[in-house]
Structure formats: structure tokens, C-alpha cells
């Protein structure tokens, strides 16, 4: 049944500062594995596969001996059987770099009801959880704050002091009107090492061609892309029961006098098309999309997604 327009969105919302991150909530984060879908390049050894072949524990392949090769890597048993010199090559395991990107556009500062979280608050918890997961498994984690451009950036590290910086950066984030996620992602692509995992927490209200361009650029660097599509239930269901003037959160000058029930059907059709389009974009970029509702527990859908992802890998 359609509901009445919640007071939270039926009046002019003051720009409220975000509350501190709920560390108790983070502490409840279940034990999950943040597994990269592709091989990653890192400085420290970890449990992610590295494209670099070396003297690690996991055998990769043989190749013919070449002058200058370390004689210790020659397989003498094989030489005994074949009378040819071959050297062993091993898979090198390396450390994962996880970059989480938080969209701070005005549209993320939306909360349909008192009982649901603001979208940006929800996204902040999600990316903090992802960073915590990376930290627990010894991977490096970094941060990108997307506004009109890349407003803030933390390179990927895994130290304790870096975690404090990470949390401190998240806590001072505030949503700001018009933003360009595509621009921020293009900026990020310039500073993020290749083969990193990039998690983008956003509502993705960006012009589709521009977003497609940015994702294609990230794919070029072989990044493992995960889109966390953070949405308020009203955005998903449009279960409003009233008429009124609709104001665009990112462009307050854009107003429409509408009757919610009468436009619901058209809205849901167009929104569904948009979500399908987003899924397709991420799929083409080699990434995945996970849809998160702010009226659910932040880790519910995320945990499920990560578990399924681990099984797939």
C-alpha cells in the first residue's frame, strides 16, 4: 500500500552533518573474505595470486633453461628423465589493494523516513566495513571521496595508523550538491595502481555515457570493480501517496509539480531500465553490481554478496 509522504522528505531538509561512524556496528561485521576476482600486483606477499612468477610455494609451469638462470631453480629430476634442462616457475602470492570510493553528491544525502539511514551514512558504513575486511586479511586499503571531482584520496596501506586516517577521513565527509562521479573515477584511475579492487558506493545518478567512459578507463587498468548501489526504499518502490512539488536534490532549481500515485508506474519503469543499464555497464567493465537498500541492515546484502562471490571464485 502506498504510504503518505514522510515528513523527512516533505520539508526543506537542513544540511545536517553526518554522525560519527558507528564503530560498534563495525565490530559486528562478520568474518568474511574479500577476494579479488583477478590477479593483483602487490609489494607484500599475501593470499591473493600475483601475475609475477617467482619462488613462492605454488608451482606454475616449466620453461627451458636459459643462461643466467638460477641453477637452484633447475628441476634435476626432470633433467634425469628428459635429458633437458628446465627451470620451475611458481605463482607468486601478493597483497590486495582495495580502494573504496564514496559518492558525496547531494542525491546521497537522502532519507525517506526517520527509521532508515541516510544514503551517504549507509554507504559510509559499507565502505568502512569493506576496508575493515581488507585490513583483517592483511590487505591494503585506500579511499577516494567523489564530489565534483576526486575530493579526497588515501593511497592503499594496511597499517594501524592508516586505518585511523581512513576513519578520520570518512567522518569529515559531507554531501555537497552537484557532483560528477565519472570525473572522480577518471581522476582515481590516474592515481590507483593497476589490478586493484575498486568498490564504488554510490547511487550512480550520473550521465550514463560518462559513467561508461570512466568504467572503461578503469577496466583498462585491470581493476576489479564492484558497484555498491545504495538506494533508499522510496527510490526503489516510489510508494508515495501525495501530490506536490518535487525538487531535485542536486539541482534545487529543477522542480516538478507532480502527483506521485499517477507517475509511479512510469517512474518504476524508467528506474528499472536505469538499474538494468547500470548492471550491464559494470558487467561490460568486468565488474559486478550489488544493490543495497538503506532500510535493511548494512551488512545483510553485503555479506551475502561477498559469500556468493567467494564461492564463484
Amino acid at each position: 500500500m502506498p504510504r503518505r509522504v514522510p515528513r523527512a522528505i516533505a520539508s526543506q531538509p537542513p544540511p545536517l552533518p553526518l554522525p560519527p561512524l558507528d564503530m560498534r556496528l563495525l565490530a559486528e561485521l562478520p568474518s568474511l573474505s574479500l577476494q579479488a576476482r583477478c590477479m593483483v600486483e602487490g609489494f607484500l606477499s599475501g593470499h591473493h595470486r600475483s601475475p609475477q612468477k617467482g619462488s613462492s610455494v605454488e608451482f606454475a609451469e616449466y620453461r627451458a633453461y636459459q643462461p643466467g638462470d638460477d641453477l637452484r631453480r633447475v628441476d634435476w629430476r626432470l633433467y634425469g628423465r628428459t635429458d633437458r634442462l628446465h627451470v620451475k616457475q611458481y605463482e607468486e602470492e601478493t597483497q590486495l589493494r582495495v580502494f573504496v570510493v564514496l559518492d558525496t553528491s547531494g542525491s546521497m544525502d537522502f532519507q525517506s523516513r526517520e527509521k532508515v539511514m541516510r544514503k551517504i551514512e549507509f554507504a559510509r558504513i559499507v565502505i568502512a566495513a569493506l576496508a575493515l575486511l581488507a585490513r583483517r586479511q592483511g590487505d591494503a586499503f585506500g579511499l577516494g571521496i567523489a564530489g565534483a571531482e576526486l575530493r579526497g584520496f588515501l593511497s592503499a596501506r594496511s597499517s594501524v595508523s592508516h586505518w585511523r586516517s581512513f576513519i578520520g577521513k570518512l567522518e569529515v565527509v559531507s554531501p555537497a550538491g552537484k557532483a560528477s562521479l565519472a570525473t572522480a573515477l577518471l581522476d582515481l584511475a590516474e592515481v590507483v595502481p593497476p589490478r586493484s579492487m575498486i568498490v564504488i558506493a554510490s547511487d550512480f545518478y550520473e550521465e550514463t555515457p560518462r559513467l561508461e567512459n570512466a568504467l572503461r578507463r578503469l577496466r583498462y587498468d585491470h581493476h576489479d570493480l564492484i558497484g555498491a548501489h545504495v538506494l533508499d526504499p522510496v527510490e526503489l518502490d516510489f510508494d508515495l501517496d501525495h501530490s506536490g512539488t518535487f525538487v531535485d536534490a542536486e539541482s534545487p532549481g529543477w522542480r516538478l509539480k507532480l502527483d506521485a500515485p499517477s507517475v509511479r508506474r512510469g517512474y518504476l519503469e524508467r528506474f528499472g531500465e536505469f538499474c538494468s543499464e547500470l548492471d550491464e555497464l559494470f558487467h561490460e567493465a568486468g565488474g559486478e553490481m550489488v544493490r543495497l537498500r538503506t532500510d535493511r541492515a548494512p551488512f545483510e546484502a553485503l555479506s551475502l554478496y561477498l559469500a556468493q562471490r567467494e564461492q564463484r571464485l
Binding site: 525538487v247 542536486e250 500515485p261
Partner: protein, 646 residues
């Protein structure tokens, strides 16, 4: 558009309710901050406009439904613009005998013709004749020439004056007419007798103008023969009662004739009031009757009276013995006890029954041997029979053998009343021209349903089953009453209608001639069978076939020849009270019959719509169409409300 019950239009104020709800539900000033409007573009605006339009349309439909309901209850009707400006006149013609007073008829006719001349093209007029009962000589028509010619041809009759019925009928006809101007032209001599019984407080319907002419002056000379009585002794004298209405003494010549021959003539001096004048005469043995006349005065119609000289036979009725009070015998003997003729009764003989008298059977012993053998022979011989069913096995068996099925009625808490009386049946001749209410009031507590191919119903029980029937078998007249004749079964024996009914039924069944041969114009004369009715007065030479009864419209000496060959002579005279030409004492009271069409009358009058409006509305039945339109609007509103429901 006019409204029969305009008070219901106040209900249209209820349209404020949906309007209020509509505006209470709409909050167009609400501002909704939404993450993005990229999915709420032009098409959403189009949807919203369409939705808003639908909601306004729904509101309009709801208002329309309320207005239509209010309009339907207010009963709309249209008044034709042309009719509203036209005039209608009803001429009520008093054709009673008093209008034959010298010069009175022609004078009033001239006045009415002058009044009709005021009507123009498109106006309507009608002629309503008052007597014997109000009837339309010319119904309402725009053919004024027809109305005028009808009035020219009309003639006064010999009836007794009575205005109430004509006044009511004319008022109703005028009230039902949508014309703006309604005129009742009263062509009458305002005789006091005519206004007796008229409720002067009961005015005409509003808007009707009554035109009453000047009260006719009393004639200078007016006397009437109000009674004739012949002594029973042979060669006796005739006594004529002459009533003089003028206060001054008058000398008049009185003549007695028989068969066109003058028997005696003498001049007498009359004083005001009744004068009994003995007239010696010796009529021929074959004379049917006497014609007694005065020399003509200002009202010649009542100056002649007739007397039938033929006597009448006395009928005999044979009855089986009754238990308790014998109401039937008392009723049959009642007129004889008063000395005005009648019937004689006798017990059923133990030996064979004679065929001539009427036999009334009302108890079981008549259907047991040896009487049942007498009964069978009596019926086979064509004897007149009247059976009251008492439900005994012997009686039911006998009736069943003769093709009549009788079944007892289940008793009920409330008494039954007989319905569907056949007013044309000869047994009801005593009630002909009068109200049947005395018969309808009779209560029955016990009864039987009669059924049979040879039965002709005369009256029915409330459920339509036959209660009283003529039993026609082989050309004989038998009467079958589906109830016992005792007080436990009915209160009829103590009811006023019992004696006239029993007498009429007995006369008809037994073909007894009525002992009375002196009648008045307007009275219904019962006749024992079908036959020919003919005037013995050369002034009225025509003859006619009659059956059961006749109601003569003119005085005179009449001959009735029954189909059986029996011949009887009746004298029919003018009602004596009609000769009194005294006018109504307060002419101003008559003018107050007119009620102005004022809207600020008393509350009771305002609450009642005019009769013409009711008739117009009833003919048009626009409210039905308004209700139908309302139903369609409700269906459309339901469809729209579903699409715009929030």
C-alpha cells in the same frame, strides 16, 4: 423547468461535501525533495496533468450525482410555454328540472355563450352536465364551435338538483390542466336543494376562477302536483296533493285524463303549502293510468303527474324451517308489514312442491329423503331456487351431482368481505345507481368456495373465489350463496343492505312483479326479467329493451312487457323537492369557493403541490430519466475513482 417538490432541491447543498473532501485531500503546496528527477520528466508531468484532470472530472461527477439526486427527488416537469398562457373553461350545466322554469334556461345559456365568446384560438373549453350524475357532454377541447353547438343543443331534464359531484369533477379537471387561466362557468339556478351536502369550507383547487351568474328570481306562479293517491274502494276518489310555492293564493284548473280522455276538470283555489284536492272520477276498466295536470305556470314540468291503475300480484316464497331467528322470513315480510306491498312466505310442504313459488333452501333436511326427491322434481320442473350452503354432506353431495363443487374456506382471524360485485346483475338492481358500499361492508366468518362450469359469479371472496353465483341450468334461474344464513356465519342479516338485497333477489328469482308502481325520476325500477319498456305518453313514443332494472330520466306513464308476456304499468313522476325553486340564501358563500392562487397561504396548502403540476409531472416522468442519468454518472464515477484512488 418546474419542480413538483422543490424542497428537495435544498439537498443540492450537499455538493459542498465532495468539494470539501477534494480540497482537503489535495495538498499541492507540499515540497518533496527527491534524489533525482531524471525519472520524473515530461511524461510524469503529462501523467500528473491527466491525473489531475481525472480527479477534477471525478469531483464534477460527484457533484453532478448529488445534483441529479436532488433534482430527481424534486420531481422535475416542464410546463408547455404555450399552455401556460392559454385559458381553459369548464361549463357546468345544471340540467335539473328546475332549469325548465320559464326563461331560466335560455337566459343562462346566453350568458354562458357570451362567456365562451371571450375564449380565443388555442383556448380550451368543456361542457359538464350535472345530472343524473356528472358527465362530459363535450370533453375539454380547443374546438370551441363544438362546445357552443353542444351547449345550444343541450336541454334541461327532470332530475333532482345536486351540485357536489359536478363541482368536484370540474375542479379536478381544471386543476389538472396546465393552462394559466382556469375558469369554471357555473350554469345553474343556485337552487337551495342543489347546494345541500356541499362542503362550503372545501374550496376549489387554487387558481380556479368560478363565474356564478346572478341568482335566478323566484317565479311568480309556481305550484306542483307532488302526490296522487287513489282510494282502494271501487269507484273511489282520487286525491291530488298540490303544493303552492308562492305566498299568495292562486286559482288553478286541475284536469284528470285517462287514455287521452278528460275524466274531470275543476278549478281550485290554492294556498301556500300542500293542498289536498279530492277529484271524483270513474275511469274505464281498461285504463292503464291517470294523467293529472294543472294549467301551466312558470315551471310547467311539475304541473303534470301520473298514476298507474294496475295492481300487482303478491309473490310467495317457500322456506325450509330455520334454527334460531329466521332473518330471511323477517326480511321478506318487512315491506308487507309496512303496508307497502311485498311478499308472503310459507313453510315448505311435506308433499310435492309447487313450481310457481320461490323455494329457499338453507338446511340439510331439504337434501335428505323424502324432501330431496321433491327438490329434484322441483328443479327438473324449472322451479326457482335459492340455496344457502351450510356444508352438510347431503347438501354437498347433491350439489356435486349437479356439477357444482363446494369446498369450505379455512377460518381466519379477520372477517371476510365480499368483493367484485357484479353491479349489472339483476339481483343488485336495488343498488343500481347507488353506492355498493353497504354490500362491501358486510362481514362473513364462515363460507364456502363455489366452483362449477354453470356458475356465473355475482360476488367473490377476497381471494377471488366465487362466493355468490347465479346457477344457470337449462334456462332456469337459481341462486347459490356460499355461506349459511345465520349470525354465526355473517352479520348480513342485521346489515342495512340485507332487506333490499333479499327482496330484489326474491323478485328476480321468482319473477315477482313489484307491488310498487309509483316511482320518481332518477330512481331505479327493478324488473323481474328482460322485456320492452315503452312510454304510454305520446310525448315519449320510443321504446327500448331493458333487463333487470331501468332508471327513467323523464316522467310519464310507462309500460313494461316482459319476454314471458307479462305486462305492467309504471307511473314515474318528478321528485317533489325539485319543485322548490328557493335559491341558496347566501350567494356570497358561493363566491368564496374560489381560492386565490396565493403563494403565502397557510402552510398546509403550500406543502401540497397543485394538482395540475402533479398531473404534468406524472405524465412526463422526467424523474425516471434523471435517476437513470444519475446511475450512469455513478458508474462512470466508480470507474474514475478507481483510477484516481490514492
Amino acid at each position: 423547468m418546474n419542480w413538483l417538490l422543490p424542497g428537495f432541491l435544498a439537498g443540492s447543498a450537499l455538493i459542498g461535501l465532495p468539494v470539501l473532501l477534494h480540497f482537503l485531500r489535495s495538498k499541492p503546496k507540499t515540497i518533496l525533495h527527491f534524489p533525482t528527477l531524471r525519472f520524473l520528466g515530461e511524461s510524469a508531468i503529462r501523467d500528473t496533468r491527466k491525473h489531475r484532470l481525472l480527479r477534477w472530472l471525478t469531483l464534477l461527477l460527484r457533484c453532478l450525482i448529488i445534483l441529479l439526486l436532488a433534482a430527481a427527488f424534486a420531481r422535475p416537469f416542464r410546463v408547455h410555454a404555450t399552455a401556460a398562457h392559454r385559458r381553459v373553461a369548464v361549463v357546468a350545466i345544471d340540467n335539473s328540472m328546475s332549469m325548465q322554469a320559464r326563461g331560466r334556461w335560455e337566459e343562462m345559456k346566453s350568458r354562458v355563450l357570451a362567456g365562451l365568446a371571450e375564449l380565443g384560438e388555442g383556448d380550451q373549453a368543456a361542457l359538464l352536465v350535472m345530472h343524473p350524475s356528472p358527465w362530459w357532454l363535450v370533453p375539454l377541447t380547443t374546438d370551441l364551435a363544438r362546445v357552443r353547438s353542444g351547449l345550444q343543443a343541450a336541454q334541461p331534464g327532470f332530475e333532482k338538483t345536486h351540485y357536489a359531484g359536478a363541482l368536484r369533477l370540474a375542479g379536478e379537471a381544471l386543476a389538472a390542466n396546465p393552462a394559466k387561466t382556469k375558469i369554471l362557468i357555473w350554469m345553474a339556478d343556485e337552487q337551495r336543494l342543489g347546494w345541500v351536502g356541499v362542503d362550503m369550507a372545501q374550496a376549489l383547487p387554487p387558481g380556479i376562477k368560478i363565474r356564478i351568474g346572478e341568482t335566478a328570481p323566484s317565479p311568480e306562479r309556481q305550484a306542483a302536483i307532488v302526490a296522487l293517491q287513489k282510494s282502494a274502494a271501487p269507484g273511489g276518489e282520487l286525491v291530488a296533493t298540490v303544493r303552492l310555492f308562492s305566498p299568495m293564493q292562486d286559482r288553478r284548473t286541475i284536469t284528470v285524463q285517462a287514455g287521452g280522455r278528460v275524466l274531470t276538470e275543476q278549478t281550485v283555489s290554492l294556498r301556500a303549502g300542500d293542498n289536498k284536492i279530492p277529484l271524483p272520477f270513474s275511469p274505464a276498466k281498461d285504463a292503464d293510468g291517470l294523467r293529472v295536470s294543472l294549467d301551466a305556470d312558470d315551471l310547467p314540468a311539475d304541473d303534470t303527474a301520473w298514476l298507474a291503475l294496475q295492481g300487482a300480484s303478491v309473490g310467495t316464497v317457500l322456506l325450509d324451517p330455520a334454527t334460531g331467528t329466521d332473518f330471511l322470513t323477517h326480511a321478506l315480510l318487512s315491506t308487507r308489514m309496512l303496508g307497502v306491498g311485498g311478499l308472503k312466505t310459507s313453510a315448505l310442504p311435506e308433499k310435492a312442491w309447487p313450481v310457481g313459488p320461490l323455494v329457499i333452501v338453507r338446511d340439510a333436511p331439504a337434501f335428505r329423503p323424502p324432501r330431496v326427491e321433491h327438490l329434484d322434481r322441483f328443479v327438473e320442473a324449472g322451479g326457482p331456487l335459492w340455496i344457502f350452503v351450510d356444508g352438510s354432506d347431503e347438501e354437498l353431495g347433491w350439489l356435486d351431482r349437479h356439477g357444482v363443487n363446494v369446498s369450505p374456506r379455512a377460518p381466519e382471524d379477520e372477517a371476510w368481505h365480499l368483493r367484485n360485485w357484479d353491479p349489472e346483475h339483476p339481483v343488485l338492481a336495488a343498488f343500481s345507481g347507488r353506492s355498493l358500499l353497504p354490500l362491501l361492508d358486510v362481514e362473513f366468518y364462515q363460507g364456502f368456495d363455489l366452483d362449477g362450469d354453470s356458475l356465473v359469479p355475482v360476488a367473490s371472496w377476497p381471494d377471488g373465489k366465487t362466493a355468490l353465483a347465479e346457477w344457470s341450468e337449462g334456462g332456469r334461474h337459481l341462486l347459490l350463496a356460499g355461506f349459511p344464513m345465520d349470525r354465526a356465519a355473517t352479520n348480513w342479516p342485521v346489515h342495512p343492505s340485507f332487506v333490499p338485497f333479499v327482496h330484489q333477489a326474491a323478485h328476480w328469482l321468482g319473477s315477482f312483479a313489484s307491488s310498487r308502481n309509483d316511482w320518481r325520476v332518477g330512481e331505479s325500477i327493478p324488473l323481474e326479467s328482460e322485456g320492452t319498456w315503452r312510454s304510454l305518453d305520446s310525448a315519449l313514443p320510443h321504446e327500448q329493451r331493458v333487463g333487470g332494472s331501468i332508471r327513467p330520466a323523464a316522467p310519464g306513464l310507462f309500460e313494461f312487457v316482459a319476454d314471458t308476456g307479462a305486462r305492467r304499468v309504471f307511473a314515474v313522476n318528478i321528485p317533489p323537492e325539485e319543485s322548490d325553486l328557493t335559491p341558496w340564501p347566501d350567494p356570497g358563500q358561493l363566491a368564496r369557493l374560489e381560492r386565490p392562487d396565493a403563494p403565502n397561504g397557510d402552510g398546509k396548502r403550500m406543502a401540497m403541490p397543485p394538482l395540475s403540476d402533479q398531473v404534468a409531472e406524472n405524465h412526463q416522468r422526467l424523474w425516471w430519466w434523471v435517476f437513470a442519468l444519475c446511475a450512469v454518472a455513478i458508474l462512470v464515477e466508480l470507474a474514475l475513482a478507481n483510477r484516481t484512488a490514492l
